[in-house]
């Protein structure tokens, strides 16, 4: 008996019970579609997260204050310490001490209601120094960024992100206008080009002012706090070297000999990226595993229905054996039926999964990401499911005694 005949027989068997065959296929279909969909969603989300993190600026290192553990006993939480000073920033900016750092800037954060005319909006106000656009990779689209003079003289000038401009000004040209932050007046001198990114991580929802101005007019009682230092390394390859230099400078300046007792923490762009990537990978794995379970459940469905089929068709098996079918002829007939169910279900599942993930990708804004490997894996997996769960019922069929099978009613 050749393969073509075996497939023809299997097709006849499946077509005889159309509803049952379709329902059995549905199990595998859903499993495969879920695998493709969830993997696509996982990949899409991680691509989006990576893009957002990349938009923070290239080769960037963040320095956060932290309470030295083990001395006080109580950790006061991330970023709440006050151990960083302008002198630290100056030391990191020194070319001799930190040759791999291009520039370092202090950051002082403040929040507050921003108003222009009758419009009001909420955005974080960040106090920093003129190197900010260079370090954080912002482009000034209109007007100009503030200068060292502005910082020294505590001038009340601000540069706005595009989101803030859209929400406050509409069609009005913001340059030269006066806005109020916490009822203090500030003059708009520049607007950043949009950086993209959405949601909480949006890089366009910012107001930037000289750090001295923020201290003088906005942070109030909290005083001259630097909540973080942002430094940029000369290249991606020198990030690690720059981190070492910064750590050495700060340990020395803070007079700490043991690095585990440091009252600051460093985090590079790459650290954040690695964290996010490992989270996204874990997410993809978990989703994939859940989808894999549904494939196994679908496989059990196939096995169940094949056992029923073999029992129902015992007499037919007996007839075929009387006519000269060998065990392997019967085995291949029923195995091909099982594999046809799973493979067909799998292929329809692939199509369904691709369609749904394309729609979701469009809605979520990460576009259509399709990994051809998924297709190969899904097809191979559904083939394997058919073989694994089909072989036992098929063996049952092949081992039937023709005398008993022919007598079966």
């Amino acid at each position: 008996m050749n393969l073509f005949e075996a497939i023809r027989m299997a097709a006849n068997g499946l077509l005889a019970n159309r509803l049952r065959s379709s329902l059995t296929m549905l199990g595998i279909l859903i499993g495969v579609a879920a695998v493709i969909l969830l993997v696509a969603v996982g990949n899409g989300a991680s691509v989006q997260i990576n893009a957002q993190i990349q938009s923070l600026g290239a080769n960037v290192i963040y320095v956060f204050p932290s309470n030295a553990r083990g001395t006080g006993g109580v950790s006061q939480g991330f970023g709440t310490g006050q151990s960083l000073t302008q002198a630290d920033v100056n030391a990191i900016n020194s070319a001799q001490q930190a040759p791999d750092v291009v520039a370092a800037i202090p950051i002082a954060q403040s929040g507050g209601q921003i108003t222009y005319g009758s419009q009001n909006y909420f955005a974080p106000t960040i106090g920093t120094t003129p190197a900010f656009p260079q370090v954080r990779d912002y482009q000034v689209a209109e007007g100009s960024f503030f200068t060292d003079d502005d910082v020294n003289a505590k001038h009340r000038v601000v540069v706005l992100g595009q989101t803030v401009v859209d929400n406050l000004f509409g069609t009005v040209d913001p340059i030269g206008q006066t806005i109020k932050i916490n009822r203090q007046s500030f003059r708009v001198i520049g607007v950043f080009a949009p950086k993209g990114g959405s949601g909480l991580g949006s890089q366009d929802n910012v107001v930037i002012a000289p750090i001295t101005t923020v201290w003088a007019y906005l942070t109030g009682a909290r005083g001259q706090v630097i909540s973080q230092i942002v430094a940029s390394a000369t290249s991606a390859a020198s990030v690690a070297q720059a981190e070492t230099e910064i750590t050495t400078i700060l340990l020395e300046r803070h007079q700490i000999s043991d690095v585990t007792q440091a009252n600051f923490q460093l985090q590079s762009q790459q650290d954040i990226l690695n964290q996010a990537t490992s989270i996204a990978t874990a997410l993809t794995l978990v989703l994939g595993a859940i989808a894999g379970i549904s494939l196994v459940v679908g496989g059990i469905g196939i096995m169940n229905i094949m056992l029923v089929t073999v029992t129902e068709r015992t007499r037919e098996i007996g007839i075929r054996k009387a006519l000269g079918a060998r065990g392997r002829d019967i085995l291949s007939q029923f195995l091909i039926e099982a594999v046809t169910l799973s493979l067909l279900g799998g292929l329809i599942g692939v199509v369904a999964g691709i369609l749904v993930s394309a729609v979701i990708g469009r809605l979520a804004g990460w576009g259509f990401i399709f990994d051809p490997a998924t297709l190969v894996v899904a097809t191979a997996f559904s083939l394997a499911v058919g073989v694994v769960f089909g072989v036992w019922p098929a063996r049952q069929a092949a081992r039937l005694d023709p005398v008993v099978a022919l007598r079966y009613e």
Partner: protein
């Protein structure tokens, strides 16, 4: 053609041993038409299973066409059934939802090799076999679309399509009305007389056995009568 020598068959039914056949010696020559008779429980079904190579004897020798088939494995038995034996069953046993043509092709599919005669295909041989039993105009009908008599004719066509050494008919008229029964028995007779087919007929009806030319009667697993009839 068929030589059974000291065939016994013992089944285990739980803890009880059932001696279905207790030493059968039987020779059936080429071209014979033999009816094997007996009441139920006489062992005639067991004998049919052994002659039909569906089962192997517990002891004794079975020579079919000169070859000992009493000690071969399942796959070899399947091959022997395919090539040497044509089955006709009481309940027709056509495969459901499958056309008469495809049913008749089935043994050829399992035979695997190309049809013996040059220039013939499986379909042409099956069509020819169906024509020979008078079903030329029914080849694409499914079993449910055929009458009992027609189904049994299709089954006979299927039995003959491989040109087997023996035609083994197990109560072939058991599910048929008397008109169809006579029709089927005449067809079998014609095959025996006209083509010299060796036919072994299992039946418990005297009327049906009368079509055969030799009657073998079984009782309690032994042959109690073996005689030529007119």
């Amino acid at each position: 053609m068929i030589a059974l020598e000291g065939i016994t068959k013992t089944y285990r039914m739980g803890k009880v041993e059932v001696h279905a056949l207790q030493g059968i010696d039987l020779r059936i020559g080429e071209g014979e038409f033999v009816a094997i008779m007996g009441a139920s429980g006489s062992g005639k079904s067991t004998l049919m299973n052994i002659i039909g190579c569906l089962d192997v004897p517990t002891s004794g020798r079975y020579l079919l066409d000169g070859a000992d088939v009493s000690r071969v494995d399942d796959d070899q038995l399947a091959g022997i059934r395919n090539r040497k034996i044509g089955f006709v069953f009481q309940s027709f046993n056509l495969i459901p939802r499958t056309s008469a043509l495809h049913n008749v092709e089935m043994p050829l599919i399992y035979m695997g090799r190309k049809p013996a005669a040059a220039g013939t295909t499986r379909a042409s041989r099956a069509t020819q076999a169906l024509g020979a039993v008078g079903l030329a105009d029914r080849i694409h009908h499914q079993p449910t679309e055929l009458s009992g008599g027609q189904q049994q004719r299709a089954a006979i066509a299927r039995a003959l399509v491989t040109d087997p050494a023996i035609l083994l008919a197990d109560e072939p008229t058991g599910n048929l009305d008397s008109a169809s029964s006579v029709e089927i028995m005449r067809l079998l007779s014609a095959l025996n007389v006209g083509q010299g087919r060796t036919i072994v007929l299992i039946t418990h009806e005297q009327d049906i056995a009368r079509f055969a030319r030799r009657v073998v009667e079984l009782r309690d697993g032994r042959i109690v009568r073996d005689e030529k009839v007119a």
